[in-house]
């Protein structure tokens, strides 16, 4: 039995996220850990480089909260709704300060995490040919095949200081299981120096061992396990709760107005004492409205016993 890594969000962020760090809160639409982002804002971390394929509302909120000096990304928007005003104001008019950007495509970002995780000096991909992306970002570079059969583009490894992953469940030592969209959390976590896992449910090790194909991260690479149900709201957790689409739509007018964002941060981040209080404030009816409309259980498989 290994030692428990279970801790509070407050302690995990205080101990593992430092000013100036490169932080990746990954999760492609699914399993975005807003709870961790809000705690980073509350603890007034500064000068972070925020990496994420899709900055989404969480990085808009964190940028508005003043934690970031730089953004590494591949698609900047409010998915299915519109754009991210706090980030755009800093890019378009340096308001209230410039924001450095380092931009790739999705495959480029996935390749960066993969190279970081696998200890490779670069990741090669067939993308970027004849586009302006390598001009906008000189870290995207052409490379000749050593076997003489053409050119591909390379992206450099990305090794975040901290990667934060939200998941359906983990055990106390950090063995983590996810179902639904997998994004690139596995690569982003293996690439990171420190890993925080935030889960809907803490389960016994036996639950993990009964279904090892579902494990995306071994506890070996995990530094802290935080149990915060609904920690991904307003994004979603497959099988547990749906995306709160009215929230994503309501964000559009808020993000257009700097004073509205700051008011929102006061109401929902600074003046809220953590995720349980946030969920209380959201209200039972709103939470209930996010339940899936029905169940869709997988069949079970028999791994067999081999003694």
């Amino acid at each position: 039995m290994s030692t428990s890594k279970v801790t509070t969000m407050r302690d995990a962020i205080a101990e593992l996220v430092h000013d100036g760090d490169t932080v990746a809160i990954e999760g492609f639409t699914h399993l975005i850990c807003f709870a961790a982002g809000h705690e980073i804002i509350r603890q007034r971390k500064r000068d972070l480089t925020l990496a994420r394929l899709t900055p989404d509302l969480i990085y808009d909120q964190m940028v508005a909260g003043g934690v970031a000096r730089k953004l590494i990304f591949s698609w900047l928007g409010n998915p299915g709704v519109g754009s991210l005003g706090a980030i755009r104001r800093r890019i378009e008019s340096a308001d209230p300060a410039p924001l450095e950007v380092e931009e790739y495509s999705h495959f480029g970002m996935v390749g960066r995490y993969t190279a970081g995780a696998a200890n490779l000096p670069f990741y090669p991909l067939r993308s970027y040919f004849e586009t302006d992306l390598p001009v906008a970002n000189p870290l995207i570079r052409p490379i000749e095949s050593p076997y003489g059969d053409g050119t591909v583009y390379a992206v450099p490894p990305l090794k975040p200081d901290v990667t934060i992953v939200h998941a359906q469940r983990a055990d106390a030592s950090g063995d983590t299981q996810v179902w639904g969209l997998l994004g690139c959390q596995k690569e982003a976590a293996f690439a990171a120096r420190r890993v925080i896992v935030v889960v809907e449910e803490l389960v016994p090790e036996s639950v993990i061992r009964a279904d090892p194909n579902r494990t995306i991260l071994p506890g070996l690479i995990v530094d802290a396990v935080v149990v915060e149900p609904y920690g991904a709201h307003p994004s979603y957790v497959q099988g547990a709760y749906d995306r709160d689409n009215p929230f994503y739509i309501a964000w559009d007018p808020i993000t257009r107005d700097e004073s509205a964002i700051q008011q929102w941060l006061r109401d929902w981040v600074y003046d809220v004492d953590g995720r349980p209080a946030y969920i209380d404030k959201l209200g039972a009816d709103r939470v209930a409205s996010l339940r899936p409309s029905g169940t869709a259980p997988s069949g079970s498989v028999d791994y067999g016993a081999y003694r």
Binding site: G77, G80, G180
Partner: protein
């Protein structure tokens, strides 16, 4: 607005019909999402929907709110990591059609979704590539759906995010071959006014006008001297069933059509 249906509804219906006979479609964010879901419910029931979030063979029970909606997972053939999706499915050559949206497009089908104005100090910061850049290079062909105007159909795009026929078909074919791209580039552009295909020179050619749209109207909304087919067709109107699917099943809130 034409009597009975909106220009956006006509665009979505026309785009969906272009997918007849296609097998595997990589679904881009925004308008492609609704067009492709309509196609799966009408003209292309066997269409395999591929989402960059890591899904092959999606059977969405509702219109996905975004391209990462949980409804694309439940009932799908496969859920993969994004690395699997981009490497094995897209770069490996399994995608027949990459269906993209665009903020700006030029006569050769080169696409900008990154910035309006200079990159370092844009007047409008757009979302960026997402997967579009590699889709445009690796999908066997590319379909585009977008609203057209002098602001979106431009002589010169402000930033090339996703390559089309570059400076023309001959040049594009040579580069694609030399660099080992699997894709042949753009083949269809569907707008709220018309349908375009690409001619032998790799340039967009007006082939079909939507009902109620005049050739002058199209010319006024294109930033170059647009090529026009010798026999311009009239796009068939949406059927009652297509409109029902859009309004009742896919987009009851009118997010894509108003």
């Amino acid at each position: 607005m034409t009597e009975g249906y909106s220009k956006s509804e006509m665009m979505i219906v026309a785009a969906a019909r272009e997918l007849a006979g296609q097998r595997v479609c990589f679904v881009g964010v925004g308008l492609p999402n609704i067009a492709v879901n309509l196609a799966q419910r009408t003209i292309a029931p066997d269409l395999e929907l591929v989402y960059e979030a890591g899904v092959f063979g999606a059977r969405p029970a509702r219109l996905p709110l975004s391209i990462g909606d949980p409804t694309i997972v439940t009932g799908a053939t496969a859920v993969t990591s994004m690395w699997d999706l981009f490497s094995l499915y897209l770069q490996g050559g399994l995608i027949d059609v990459g269906f993209l949206g665009a903020a700006q497009i030029d006569r050769f089908g080169n696409i900008n979704t990154t910035v309006i104005g200079p990159y370092d100090r844009p007047t409008t910061r757009l979302p960026g590539s997402g997967g579009a850049c590699e889709i445009a290079i690796n999908a066997r062909q590319v379909f585009v759906i977008m609203h057209q105007s002098r602001r979106s159909f431009v002589e010169r795009i402000d930033f090339r995010t996703s390559p089309g026929n570059l400076g023309g078909a001959e040049n594009a074919a040579r580069i694609r071959h030399e660099q080992g791209w699997l894709g042949r580039g753009p083949s269809v552009v569907v707008t709220d006014l018309a349908i375009y295909h690409f001619d032998d020179a790799g340039e967009m050619r007006l082939d079909s006008l939507h009902p109620g749209v005049s050739l002058d109207q199209v010319r006024e909304s294109v930033g170059w001297e647009v090529r026009v087919a010798a026999d311009v067709r009239a796009t068939p109107e949406p059927t009652a069933e297509e409109l029902r699917l859009i309004r009742v099943e896919l987009d009851p809130e009118g997010a894509y059509t108003t």
